[in-house]
Amino acid sequence: MRGARLGSFLAGLAVLLAACGNSGSGTPAPSTGAPIIFGAAVSLTGSQSKEGGLTKQGYDLWLDWINQRGGILVNNAKHPVQIIYEDDQSNANLSATLVEKLITVEKAQFILGPYGSGATASDAIVVEKDGIPMVESNGAAQSIFSHGYKYTFGVLSPANKYLTGVLDMAATLNPKPTTIAMLAANDNFSLEVAKAVADYAPSKGMQIVFNKSYPAAAPDVSGLISQAKAANPDIVMNSGHLAESIAINKAAKQLGLNAKIFAYSVGPSTPDFISALGADANYVYDGSQWTPQVKYKPSFYLSVADYVKAYQKKYNSTEPPDYHVAESTAGCLAFEKAIENAGSLDPSKVRDALAALDVMTFFGEIKFDSRGINIYKPMVVEQIQSGTHYTVFPANVANGQPQYPTPTWSSR
């Protein structure tokens, strides 16, 4: 902290000097302040290295953009930004240790969240203890926010909204589906998603006819799928991760489980899902935090279209960014705006500015409730149609219509 204080003193001095030199000509050009140091412990190796890598891409995309503009503006001084990364090896327990190291050894002034609800929950304890604000972009479990923490903010729509949007959409379709088979991985986040579906379904006139969980990262789900098939559901939902959503879709085809809607919480939005399954990926729905087709009107940073272009340029990709990347960038944007609004690098002032934040970004509205959850941004529903993602619900941000019902496996 001493470095930061010295930095802001120097920045103030620089502002004064600049003001003297420029006397008479309106607002002086901003000076350069000391770098602002962000810390992030993300999964760069281990079972979540894919998602961790996407998180880092999202952070780095903003990092380039803000530094091209000289940095974050605080009291008319532009502070360039550094992000110091640690690798939590996909181990939630290690994550907290690394965040402690980032704060005490690397002198990180602010923390960007890790990948996953488990790691986020353990990091939240550390930042709370040290009084360092954390904006997290990849932990959607509401349980993270149920402890009254003051320093943790999440830009995501919470877990309970992941698949309820699909039910909202299903209720508008004809013939209306009424029975649901719900599969869930045995982890906090996935179980929260599944419970929300079970709680919400009756209000839409639907009932759960099969509801089971399986161990996370289960390589084999064929036994479960054959049981689900016996219940003859209209909707098959999975709340889990990419590997399981691929396995479930494969097993559904092998065992001839035909439903009108297949919807998976996590997985279908990634390019891997389509490349792994080919044409079998078609018709699958997912609830997504964000899609490259949404039509938000941001008040700063990039428009949705420019964001997609910036991503493709930096990472030399023809694919648009998936939502893990976008939500991670959104976390950085929350910090950028809050620091600007606070006009200070003091952690408690930035924390207060985060609590009061209300901005529209390419990712949607960012505004936190008293727990620190962004409940103001809706989830969107997308569907894979002929190998391409289309946003199909809600209608005001959609660029396609749901293809319904899903044809049987034998007639595809």
Partner: protein, 289 residues
């Protein structure tokens, strides 16, 4: 009733995968007294070879299995001769640490080469199956079970019908005595490990057809192989078959136990494992030590 029959069929098919994975693991453990924690990583190396041949050259996954076997045989031989052999007489803990380290190195190399993207081998017949009344037998898994049983036959034939096999069994029984009668210990050690690795590679080729693979996807299989060997017993090919099929059945039937989430399936499987250890410590079909 047909639902139960379907579950039994799926359990046996899953068991076939476990047999394939555990054969090499059991051989290395039985003969070299090494619990190879890198076994799952070797399985995934095989899976990546099959994936690579499928995506680049459109080779049918089942036709690429011999390539997996050959490549992993070479890797296994070199790994044993160059690295593991230096610790072959060290206490179990040392080889534990060593193979744990090898596992990390292989997984990291795979991450560097293939990245963490999810890969999948999806041949045209991957979704279809044999319909027997209301019971469906997916072709891919049936093929997997057939290959697993064929592998078991090959291993049995090598061990019981060839001079090399006799030498391998001799080393397993008493390494000093085997050396006295002229067996080249280092060669047999390396050969045994190479055969184990080759079998892991074939298992990986099968796995790539029904599961999406990542560099870390092998870790659960090391654990499964361990459980299968404990359940079936060490030192016999038939014991591995019995252990693998039993473990697959227990897992799938455990998933359908009424009222329980299938999160309990693993727990049920390991409870059975503990019971077997208590009642029959040498496993279902294992030899007395």
């Amino acid at each position: 009733m047909s639902q139960f029959a379907q579950q039994v069929v799926l359990g046996l098919l899953l068991g076939g995968i476990y047999v394939a994975v555990a054969l090499g693991f059991s051989l290395v453990w039985g003969i070299l007294n090494i619990v190879n924690l890198a076994h799952g990583a070797l399985v995934i190396v095989g899976a990546y070879i099959t994936w690579d041949l499928f995506t680049r050259l459109h080779v049918d996954p089942f036709l690429s299995l011999p390539v997996d076997a050959l490549a992993l045989f070479v890797i296994g031989y070199a790994l044993q001769r160059g690295v593991i052999n230096r610790l072959i007489r060290a206490p179990l803990l040392f080889t534990f640490l060593l193979t744990f380290g090898i596992n990390l190195v292989i997984v990291s190399l795979l991450l560097l080469i293939f990245t963490a993207d999810f890969r999948s081998v999806t041949p045209s017949y991957s979704g279809s199956g044999l319909h027997l009344g209301s019971v469906i037998i997916p072709y891919i898994r049936l093929g997997g079970l057939a290959v697993a049983l064929a592998m078991a036959g090959v291993l049995w034939a090598i061990l019981n019908r060839t001079r090399i096999g006799a030498a391998i069994l001799a080393v397993g029984a008493d390494r000093d005595a085997a050396q006295l009668v002229g067996v080249d210990l280092r060669h047999i050690y390396a050969l045994t490990f190479a055969i184990g690795a080759a079998f892991a590679g074939v298992a990986g080729g099968i796995i790539s057809t029904f599961q999406s693979i990542t560099p870390t996807a092998g870790d659960p299989y090391t654990l499964q192989a361990f459980a299968v060997v404990i359940l079936g017993g060490l030192g016999r090919v038939s014991a591995t078959i019995a252990g693998g099929l039993a473990f697959g059945l227990i897992e799938v039937l455990g998933q359908s136990a009424p009222g329980l989430g299938s999160g309990f399936a693993n727990a049920i499987a390991f409870v059975v494992l503990v019971l077997v250890l208590v009642i029959r410590p040498r496993g279902l079909l294992g030899r007395l030590a």
